[in-house]
Amino acid sequence: MAVIEVEDVRRTFTVRTRNGRWRREKREVRAVDGLTFQVEEGECVGYIGPNGAGKSTTVKMLTGILVPSGGRLRVAGVDPAARRAALARRIGVVFGQRTTLWWDLPLRDSYELARRIYRIPDARYRANLDRCVELLDLGALLDTPVRQLSLGQRMRGDLAAALLHDPAVLYLDEPTIGLDTISKTKVREFLRETNREQRTTVLLTTHDLTDIEQLCGRVMVIDHGRLVLDGPLEDLHAAGESERTLVVDLAAPHPPIELPGVRTVKVEGPRQWLAFPARQSAAPLVAAVAERYPLVDLSVREPAIEDVIARIYTGSAAEPAR
């Protein structure tokens, strides 16, 4: 059963610009322009695109905050704009950069408020809280005022707050932004677990490709208010011909490394940047470099989502229109 149904949804904004002293110009901006997709129950979908592509406009329409200009929307069988308050009980929202926890009160108090506001039955509440506390390691933090938590701890606290009422759909906006590696891993593990065990449908917007690689079976790419790609993650790499970068530090400055299937992008003293296809393993490449060159140190960089999308976009723009 589809939990999210989006059918030819559009959203235009009227932008007024002043030109001259008295004249004002009205301009229509299409933030979302004929969007169609479905998300099945239990799916975890990455929703990505450059800034201003229409991501947050879509999420705002799905939560019922914004009324669409046209098209048909259903979330958990409900029209979000018409039944916003009723829908609120069935969705969870986490903004990575904005906490919904009570700053000056112990973490536990925020959960108690959620229990009352969402009218969560006592047994459900206790079971869900216990589960979140265990998986997210919150036990020691429950009685700490939120303002004293680290960013990673707070993010974990926010995730628990969004899940106490068993939402059918969870919207995540940059859930790992600004977190260190350990916190990121913990958050991702928890989300994977929740998606699998609770069958919670997850819609994730992020700039971190690793989030998507580790969590999402499916990626939707939006640009200029339209879907430019919808499919498994491999499609994204294929369409974007994305590359990872191996950064190697050699013992001494060296002429550009030459290896088959590798592009040497940049040389800076003893450091060199080698680009290779994202789907390919880095291990044989590292071995090859280590065998032929005096290798001191190395690191692998994942492709930036913007680059991948930019390549998809220039690719589709290069094709003759229509």
Partner: protein, 277 residues
């Protein structure tokens, strides 16, 4: 699968949400104990000085436009209780513009509690009780000092007047704040209407030009908060010579104000949700 609720259930839920969220804010504020106590002290001091001005005035004259100190104290007390009560309940709606600008109204719209109740309870602090306490003290004193025959209808009129006054001020606060859905920095409009209006109501209507008094009857209906009902309680003639029914019209006016404010809120919220600025 999602039930539609009756109007009474929704109103009850709004009050409960307000109560829950206000409680969270009150406890948040109490975590800063010193700041809370200083704020409370300042609040009491300022409101006391406010009334001291009135007492000073009466040291030079026995009457103010034909009203005694006790009678003026009655007006002062009722006006302050009405505004103080309204400010305690919904005063925070004046922060609407800021929330619209920063987009933080969105986080209220994704919770299952009414957005107006959440906004009204925002930054609730027990410190606002200071004004209310002072207002009740002045009112209590004036009631004992008044030279009146306390018939039962007069006695009943006082709590009724206070209740309607609080409701009218609440509606005016909410209604005026809704302007901020369109003009984000129009908090001044609402401040001048409510605080300016409340100051007006602290003095006898005979002090002011008839046009101003008429404005508070037929324009923003603040005269129904205390001026008109007080004429009955204090047994005074109406400076405008209006029919006596006006002195009892406060409940009707209060209901109309609430309906108007509710309409303004719904319209504003709809505009916000379709522009999403």
């Amino acid at each position: 699968m999602v039930e539609r609720e009756s109007l009474a259930a929704r109103a009850g839920w709004a009050v409960r949400s307000w109560w829950l969220i206000a409680g969270m804010w009150a406890r948040s504020m109490l975590t800063y104990r010193t700041s809370f106590l200083l704020g409370l002290a300042a609040n009491v001091l300022i409101t006391f000085l406010d009334f001291a001005v009135l007492i000073l005035m009466f040291r030079h004259t026995r009457q103010l436009a034909g009203w005694t100190l006790a009678e003026t104290g009655f007006l002062y007390g009722t006006s302050s209780v009405a505004l103080g009560g309204a400010n305690l309940l919904v005063g925070s709606v004046s922060g609407l513009g800021e929330r619209v600008r920063s987009g933080t109204l969105d986080t209220m719209l994704i919770r299952p509690a009414p957005a107006l109740a959440q906004l009204a309870a925002e930054r609730f602090s027990l410190r606002r009780l200071g004004r209310l306490v002072q207002a009740f003290v002045v009112l209590g004193w004036s009631l004992t000092a008044l030279d009146l025959r306390w018939t039962w209808d007069r006695v009943l009129m006082v709590p009724g007047l206070l209740l309607c006054g609080v409701v009218i001020f609440c509606a005016v606060l909410v209604g005026c704040s809704c302007v901020q859905f369109w003009w984000g920095d129009a908090a001044e409009l609402q401040n001048s209407v409510t605080y300016g209006g409340a100051t007006l109501l602290q003095y006898p209507p005979t002090v002011f030009a008839k046009e101003i008094v008429a404005g508070t009857v037929f324009g923003v209906p603040l005269a129904f908060v205390n001026w008109l009902p007080a004429l009955y309680v204090l047994d005074r003639p109406d400076p405008l010579g209006l029919p006596v029914a006006f002195e009892f019209a406060a409940p009707v006016v209060a209901v109309l104000c609430v309906l108007a404010a509710g309409l303004a809120w719904r319209t504003g919220l709809r505009a916000y949700r379709s522009t999403g600025s």
